[in-house]
């Protein structure tokens, strides 16, 4: 097995230590930045939905602020954002390189994208359901959690999937400017040293990971459409 691997991708085997640590670094960036993006984008998406004109807590000031900030950061290409945020990143985490230094720009890059996805998912919840909940005496928080978030779960899962996949793309770009991870491994050890097998393996690894995410996302979205993920049946007799 080892011999066979060495015959088809000799350089990957030679740099296997570096390869695994790159995978790990990408995984770390993905999970940590993803966690922040999930929470921040979720909060902003909900804020946009409820503070919108005619929303359950209409507030033009909050809406305009979140809306404009989201638009600004969405319109900056990620590579520019990376260098633009270097001073801020240094100030927040003390360094602008490595996994630690990549988290800040990754969160800034992915959050606006996810915010819009969440906003779109929540906009799909029919206003009638909101009205019915209000008529039953639900307050604003109740409506957000028991109606908006609850009813849009399949759409939110799709949003998370798309954002996760685009976040992987961002981590490799961050790798190009010193963040480490699979992106920098492919560039520094594959492209720069003319080891095509390293580039190929990086492509395959990313392909597998993205397909896995997409598959899991699709399955969960299907399983939560018009039903709870796990049925909990009530005894009626």
């Amino acid at each position: 097995m080892a011999e066979w691997l060495a015959s088809i991708m000799p350089n990957v085997v030679d740099y296997s230590g570096k390869f695994w640590s790159s995978c790990l670094a990408t995984g770390q960036m993905f999970l940590i930045a993803g966690g922040f993006t999930l929470v921040l984008g979720g909060v902003f998406g909900v804020l946009l939905t409820v503070t919108k004109k005619g929303g359950i807590a209409g507030n033009a000031a909050v809406y305009n602020f979140v809306n404009i900030v989201t638009n600004v950061f969405r319109s900056i290409p990620f590579v520019i954002l990376l260098i633009f945020l270097i001073p801020l990143t240094r100030w927040i985490v003390g360094t602008a390189i490595g996994v630690k230094g990549a988290i800040v720009p990754l969160v800034f890059g992915a959050t606006p994208f996810f915010t819009r996805q969440v906003e779109a998912a929540l906009a799909n919840v029919s206003p009638g359901k909101i009205e019915a909940a209000a008529a039953m005496g639900s307050g604003k928080l109740g409506i957000v959690f028991r109606v908006y978030l609850h009813e849009s779960v399949p759409d939110l899962i799709r949003a998370v999937t798309i954002t996760a996949i685009s976040l992987i793309g961002l981590t490799t770009m961050a790798g190009a400017v010193g963040a480490g991870g699979i992106g920098s491994f492919a560039i520094n050890y594959g492209q720069n040293l003319h080891h095509q097998d390293i580039v190929n393996v990086c492509v395959v690894v990313l392909l597998v990971f993205v397909s896995l995410l997409q598959g899991i996302g699709n399955a969960l979205a299907r399983r939560t459409t018009n039903r709870a993920l796990f049925r909990h049946n009530i005894e009626v007799e």
Binding site: G128, A132, A135, M136, G137, E151, R227, A228, R231, V236
Partner: protein, 360 residues
């Protein structure tokens, strides 16, 4: 039970201000099934939402038995709860209490698609301090009330329209409200389901003494379950009263239109418009409305015999409103002019409401 006094509500629309509710005063008594009819855009949906404050009226007063009085002044709400002297700005808590005292059902059911029937019905009960066992017992009781116990674990996508509306009714009644607001609850249902939902509402009204405020554009709905009715047109209530009184002697043109659309007598206008052959014989075209006092008598043949006039019946209908018969006929009266007049006079003397549609 519910009293509205000079309620106003307007919206800023793209083409200026839309006056959805204009100076509406209504009194809905306990145990009434109160119908609010009108064509779409008449303001009935807004009006019913002013009762549970899904819409906040601009001005007017709303009194709800068991809760208190809410007064609206330039869009602000002041509340005096029952048993209290002080009037304060309506708080979030009071608003939720008011809404909790009435249930509401909708045209499109508005159930949570990702929740089972059981979870939908328990929605208003959860987070209310009730124990799990108490919630379960109450939901099962409600399921029995709407006859859906076997569907407790089904999801809305697995139910028919009528079943969904039953779930919505159970959910609306979870907190034992004394009032049920129904917004076109049968408009999206097929005739069978409509029938069964109306029967259920009627039964709930009778068994629980539930006061029902029902808005609809379908006369059939009003005829089958309402005891009182208000007719709305461009934000105003143009006519109100007992269903029989309003529909046996409609005053407003819009009410007449509604009555005609359901009885089929409105078709005469089409015949006149098309200059149909049935009218070519000439004569006086009259419309007779028989109320419960004279519907049993054979007046047409009597008149025909007594005065020697030809009574050509073009259209006829007999409806039951609140169990009382209401008849309508479109008759072409032929013969000598004097005799026609005498014949019509005779009908009038026998409590038939006669209108001359056309002299020919």
């Amino acid at each position: 039970m519910i009293e509205l006094q000079s309620l106003y509500k307007s919206f800023a629309g793209p083409e200026g201000v839309i006056r959805a509710v204009e100076d509406v005063s209504l009194e809905i008594r306990e145990g009434d099934v109160y119908g609010i009819v009108g064509y779409s855009g008449a303001g009935k949906s807004t009006l019913v939402r002013c009762i549970n404050l899904l819409e906040r009226p601009d001005a007017g007063t709303l009194r709800v038995k068991g809760f208190g009085t809410v007064r609206f002044e330039s869009g602000r709400a002041f509340c005096r709860q029952e048993g209290s002297e002080a009037e304060t700005a309506l708080s979030e808590k009071q608003l939720r209490q008011l809404r909790g005292s009435m249930g509401m059902i909708f045209q499109h059911f508005n159930l949570l698609d990702r929740s089972s029937v059981f979870e939908n019905i328990s929605y208003p009960l959860r987070h209310s301090g009730l124990s799990k066992a108490a919630i379960r017992a109450r939901v099962l009781e409600l399921l029995d009330l709407v006859d859906l116990r076997e569907k407790a674990n089904a999801y809305p996508s697995e139910l028919s329209g009528g079943q969904k509306q039953r779930v919505a009714i159970a959910r609306a009644l979870a907190n034992n409200p004394r009032i049920l607001l129904s917004d076109e609850a049968t408009s999206a249902l097929d005739p069978d389901a409509t029938e069964s939902i109306l029967r259920l509402l009627k039964e709930l009204n009778r068994r629980l003494g539930l006061t029902i405020v029902l808005i609809t554009h379908e006369m059939a709905v009003v005829k089958s379950i309402c005891s009182k009715v208000a007719v709305m047109e461009s934000g105003r209530v143009v006519e109100q009263g007992g269903v029989y009184e309003v529909f046996s002697a409609p005053q407003a043109a819009i009410t007449r239109k509604f009555v005609d659309s359901s009885s089929g007598l409105g078709r005469i206008n089409k015949l006149i418009e098309e200059q149909s052959e049935v009218l070519s014989g000439g004569g006086t075209l009259i419309r007779c409305t028989y109320n419960k006092d004279c519907v049993g008598e054979a007046l047409i043949s009597e008149v025909s015999r007594l005065y020697g006039v030809n009574m050509n019946i073009l259209l006829g209908s007999l409806e039951l409103l609140q169990g009382s018969p209401l008849g309508g006929l479109i008759v072409l009266v032929g013969g000598d002019m004097e005799k026609r007049r005498a014949a019509i006079q005779h009908l009038c003397e026998n409590n038939v409401i006669v209108e001359v549609i056309e002299h020919g």
